[in-house]
Amino acid sequence: MANKIRVATTSLAGCFGCHMSFLDIDERMLQLVEVVEFDRSPITDIEHCTNCDIGLIEGGVCNSENVHVLREFRNNCKILVAVGACAINGGLPAMRNHIPLEECLNEAYLDGIGVENPQIPSDIELPLLLDQVRPIHEVVKIDYFLPGCPPSADVFWKFLTDLIEGREPSLPYELVHYD
């Protein structure tokens, strides 16, 4: 079928829990792929996204690579969606925001108990950490937010079917959760 809706997904500073929850739509996935094709996503192994309709972002922004990926999504997706607590407010990774980055790195790579051969990793292949973890809406413009840790499969289903069927997406009370 031509003109399928193109969806890309990624996880930044997240745990892939939102992706797992997405897969929990179970057999409804078969209905979904009738009208949707997946572009860049852990599901497809496509490395870069191009000309997508919807981008689903899990996780907050904790390093420079997250920024590049997020920008690629923004540039290539008509609608960009923050999925889950970490994308919306930094979530669990943002709990390091109270500890200066220098202390975090020292603890992890230099002074921590059990550290052998202490050194700060330095390789141009490695992304650098931002001093604070940020929600994605502080780095690029976001069109929709799906709260939850993770958002339930029904949230993904409700949101995507709304969009696909041309309705303004909305979540009823039972589907709005932050936990």
Partner: protein, 239 residues
């Protein structure tokens, strides 16, 4: 003839001395609120209960009802702005619901659900706040305090103590406790104090009780706060 006000066009009786909130709740009309509990002196600080009284914004929990007032509660503009005020409360603190044992029983969260708040809208402050776990049975997680003063009032007005106070100015406001060490363990607080039960968020928690009810079966998992608030704060509206 008893005196009346109208709220969103509905005629509601009131008695002399009642606030708009008192009259509304008695008549089964919910006005969102966080710093208010009918048992304690109204405070008027969270501003979620802002209603339009004859065209002017007033805090329903402190503003006296007067005959003939035309009150707007469910106006779209008010609902939108209440959502923004709730978002302000979220961004000024550190509210990570997934890791908070109050989730599902939290009034801040429930008001946000009720207002269909899906994001934070504003930039997050990520303030550096501490946790006081010094006491054997009660803990304070300052990350979640919204300065409603319910614990302050409950301690003074119900427990006959003075365990809590709000100190500081502006965005530097913070909760303090009555002990030279500044730690809860050195106060005369008791886990059975009313002050330990009134916190609308997860800032004051009684230890070892958090997971007695599993997530998914908690107060606001299935019921909205309007219904819960009317039935618990004004039991005559209970089912």
């Amino acid at each position: 003839m008893s005196k009346t006000i109208t709220i969103d066009g509905k005629t509601i009786p009131f008695e002399e001395g009642q606030t708009i909130m008192d009259a509304a709740m008695a008549a089964g009309v919910y006005i969102p609120h966080l710093c208010h509990q009918p048992e304690f002196t109204p405070h008027g600080s969270c501003k979620l209960c802002t209603v339009k009284v004859n065209g002017r914004n007033c805090s329903a929990c402190t503003f006296p009802a007067a005959d003939g007032q035309d009150v707007l509660n469910q106006a779209e503009e008010l609902i939108e702005d209440r959502k923004k005020i709730t978002q302000m409360l979220f961004v000024e603190g550190n509210h990570f619901c997934p890791s908070c044992e109050k989730t599902g029983n939290c009034q801040l969260q429930a008001v946000a659900y009720h207002l269909n708040m899906l994001d934070n809208h504003f930039p997050l402050f990520y303030p550096d706040r501490k946790v006081d776990a010094s006491h054997a049975e009660v803990m304070i997680d300052h990350n979640r305090c919204i300065f409603c003063t319910l614990c302050v009032r409950a301690s003074q007005q119900k427990d006959g103590k003075d365990v809590f106070a709000i100190s500081g100015r502006g965005i530097h406001k913070h909760l303090i406790v009555n002990a030279q060490s500044g730690l809860l363990k050195d106060t005369d607080v008791d886990a059975s104090d009313k002050a330990c039960a009134v916190c609308p968020t997860g800032a004051i928690l009684v230890k070892r009780t958090g997971y007695q009810v599993p997530i998914g079966e908690r107060i606001y998992d299935h019921k909205q706060i309007d219904q819960v608030s009317l039935s618990t704060e004004h039991p005559k509206h209970g089912e």
